[in-house]
């Protein structure tokens, strides 16, 4: 599952539940269990499975429905740079979650340490001068929220393979205009390509 999918996942889950209505949601969840033995939240992590069940219910209208769900979460801004795109976060809950991470001084240090280059966790904690226990907890929280993604690995002297991590975005802009807080993240084409959810946004 790609970092962008994790980042968007919770918001998508909430928006689908809000929009489908109680009866349809129950039927969709029932079908997901029958076909894949998973609930809605789990299949969002494996979006093609959810897509295939939604197609059983909504047929040709599925794409439009999925786009409607995603319009409330993110929008894509086509940039001049062919390797990167700006993604605007439309969902206030997701925006708050990103700001909550950036507002935590230790998490902000961690994100800064792996912006543009992947590192193993011990290296990140050393760069940021963070204690092991709380440092690991904060790194794990950033991974769980999709802000840090696995990119490559290294082999230690004793032969152990350790994952390397970096930020899901290449850059981030926060603009405060009148009553709005606008968060835009710069993501690589590769990240967009790896995200099954973002592929729906890209296809519009």
């Amino acid at each position: 599952m790609s970092g962008l999918d994790i980042l968007i996942g919770k918001s998508l889950d909430a928006i689908i539940r809000e929009n489908l209505g109680e009866i349809t949601l129950r039927r969709v969840e029932q079908r997901l269990f029958e076909r894949y033995g998973m609930g809605l939240s789990k299949t969002i992590e494996d979006f093609p499975k959810l897509d295939s069940v939604l197609r059983e219910f909504f047929g040709g209208g599925t794409e439009g429905l999925e786009k409607k769900f995603l319009d409330g979460i993110v929008s894509l801004e086509h940039s001049k740079d062919k390797n990167q795109e700006w993604v605007t976060i439309e969902d206030p809950i997701l925006a708050t979650s990103i700001l909550t991470s950036l507002g935590d001084e230790d998490k902000a240090k961690i994100l800064n340490a792996v912006l543009g280059e992947s590192k193993v966790i011990s290296e990140i904690l050393e760069t940021c001068n963070l204690p092991q226990t709380s440092g690991y907890r904060k790194v794990n929280s950033l991974i769980e929220n999709g802000l840090l993604v696995n990119e490559g690995f290294m082999t230690t002297r004793d032969g152990k393979i350790v994952n390397k991590y970096r930020t899901v975005f290449e850059n981030i802009h926060i603009d405060i205009v009148k009553n709005s807080v606008i968060i835009r993240i710069l993501v690589s084409h590769q990240s967009l390509k790896n995200s099954s959810v973002m592929q729906i946004v890209c296809s519009s």
Binding site: L99, D104, I176
Partner: protein, 109 residues
């Protein structure tokens, strides 16, 4: 390379927290009422309440004495994990202080 200015992050975080608190307490209607008072009486927008918490309390008090108390409590809960940061704690403390003080006259630009 640095991600973003921490003050903008805090201001954005406070603005979104206030917005969500208002939506939770009174839905879109309450949010719009507060935004209108902020603009008409204080010539301000929601994010300006970070530097000027008195505007938020003033707007809420106009809509009901109990409302400002409820919003202050809810905001403290939401922002508690950041209260170790001076500016956020200052914002929360100012909210409490202002609630019990006579409000200043609206700023005229």
């Amino acid at each position: 390379m640095s991600l973003t200015d921490l003050n903008t992050v805090r201001k954005g975080l406070v603005a979104l927290s206030v917005e969500q608190t208002l939506l939770e307490i009174g839905g879109g209607k309450l949010l719009n009422e507060v935004l209108t008072i902020l603009f008409e009486k204080y010539h301000s927008y929601l994010p300006n309440c970070y530097e000027n918490p008195e505007y938020l309390i003033g707007a809420c008090k106009e809509l009901g004495e109990g409302l400002s108390k409820e919003i202050r409590r809810s905001l403290r809960k939401r922002l508690e994990e950041f209260s170790y940061q001076g500016q956020i704690e200052y914002f929360l403390t100012r909210l409490s202080e202002i609630e019990y003080m006579r409000l200043p006259n609206p700023r005229v630009n």
